[in-house]
Amino acid sequence: MKAQDKIETFVRNAAIDTGTAVNERVLGRMREAYEQAGSRASVSRDLGVWRRLVEYRLVRLGAAAVVLLAVAIVVSQFGAMLAGSSVAWAEVTQRFQSVPFFYASIYMKRDALAQPQHFELWMGRGGRARMHVGEQVIFGQTGRVTRAFDIRQRREAEANRTATDILAILATPDEFSLETVIRSISGGKLVDITPAMNTQAGIAEDLVVFDAQSAVSPGWMRVYALRESKLPVGLRIWDPAEGFMVDALITYAKEQPAISFDPEAFAARLRDPTGTEAGLVYLFLKDPGGRDMTREDLPR
């Protein structure tokens, strides 16, 4: 070891300890400061959701967080809301609970010159989630990654960071409150108000378009929903400042088989040398017709 390395190691290894009582006291002061800041800025906190919609990309959590947040908002709230003003919140909640499963295909790009990144998300009842991002298939349960697999290398892997954050976001349903979003978008001035229906944008009678504009950024969100079923089927988030864009296509189906959310069953098939990469990515999943998404008898 060189002399410089030795002295660096000596300095780095010079340990300290800390007093428990003072640790508790400092942490207490930190919590106090954190809570005080939260209560002082209640309006700012309300703006937080929309800020996150637009700003998360700055901390590299954003794009996916934005998408999933928006998808969750749409699926959990918009569908019922579109049914009309006579719908009560209890009915909204009930309706959401009746949706057994949804799938979202999401494209996003961080700025005008970036290539879009593709995410696939399958959400089932009980907080079960499965994601496909790049070479990974990731399983989650109530906001936590349970297991993640690298399909190309056929082994367990550390979960994609963005996917981990997405699952964490999905586990915080209070963040998906429509009321909060609307209040955020309006700078705290609008409460219990729905995004405006844009009649000019709707070119078909069976499709309704809702727009929401941010009060704190040039960004806006557009939701496409079916008039009859009231279910949202697409959304776009667009920030003209940087060209940040999200496009999501949402589809609904009967619930996927439980095994499709089971990481143990997936792991057991991972090392099967006869399985193709496409077969693994969509293993156990059914297409809308109820068939395996990647049937083994397909010509290769």
């Binding site: 300290i16 003072v22 930190m30």
Partner: protein, 180 residues
């Protein structure tokens, strides 16, 4: 990677992330302040203030680089200010108070120094302030020479020279302590 998630959790109102940030960076920040100031009480005050101010701003904090680098820079700024204030008060005797030793631990002690850290701290006190800053920010704050150069408003070459001279002096001061 984890820092991004911690900051996001704090942005979302999750106060439990504070404890993780605190535990993750407490020791290095205390060592940084303790080495720069060579005064236990002042170092504790500086680090405590930085943590509390960070907590107060955490709901809207945006992470653009390394969280540790950010906190280390805050500590270094506060340590500089503390030194200036001490000089203004003509209390140049910053070598008077030592860190709490393990034997002398009291409920009021936060930074409990090992013998090795006490020796390092004493040796750091012999360095010119600029060299001490570079060595501590690089070794305890894990800041790059480029980041330190920006902070010291000087060139990278100057920072590298300060680091090299600082280490040489430390090696001479700690001769016998460091295995040859």
């Amino acid at each position: 990677m984890e820092d991004g998630r911690l900051v996001w959790r704090l942005n979302c109102g999750d106060a439990t992330a504070l404890a993780r940030v605190y535990e993750k960076y407490r020791d290095d920040l205390l060592r940084l302040a303790g080495s720069m100031l060579n005064d236990r009480a002042a170092a504790e005050d500086v680090v405590q203030d930085v943590f509390v101010r960070f907590a107060g701003a955490a709901r809207t904090f945006r992470l653009t680089g390394s969280l540790k680098g950010y906190l280390a820079t805050c500590v270094a700024n506060a340590a500089r200010n503390s030194l200036k204030a001490a000089r203004r008060r003509e209390t140049a005797g910053l070598d008077g108070e030592s860190a709490c030793s393990p034997e002398a631990q009291s409920p009021e002690c936060w930074l409990i120094a090992s013998e090795q850290f006490d020796r390092v701290r004493a040796a750091m006190g012999e360095l010119p302030p600029e060299q001490c800053e570079v060595v501590t920010l690089h070794l305890y704050g894990e800041m790059s020479f480029r980041q330190i150069a920006e902070w010291q408003k000087t060139s990278i070459k100057t920072v590298q020279s300060r680091y090299r001279y600082g280490l040489e002096k430390l090696r001479s001061l700690l001769k016998g302590e460091v295995a040859e």
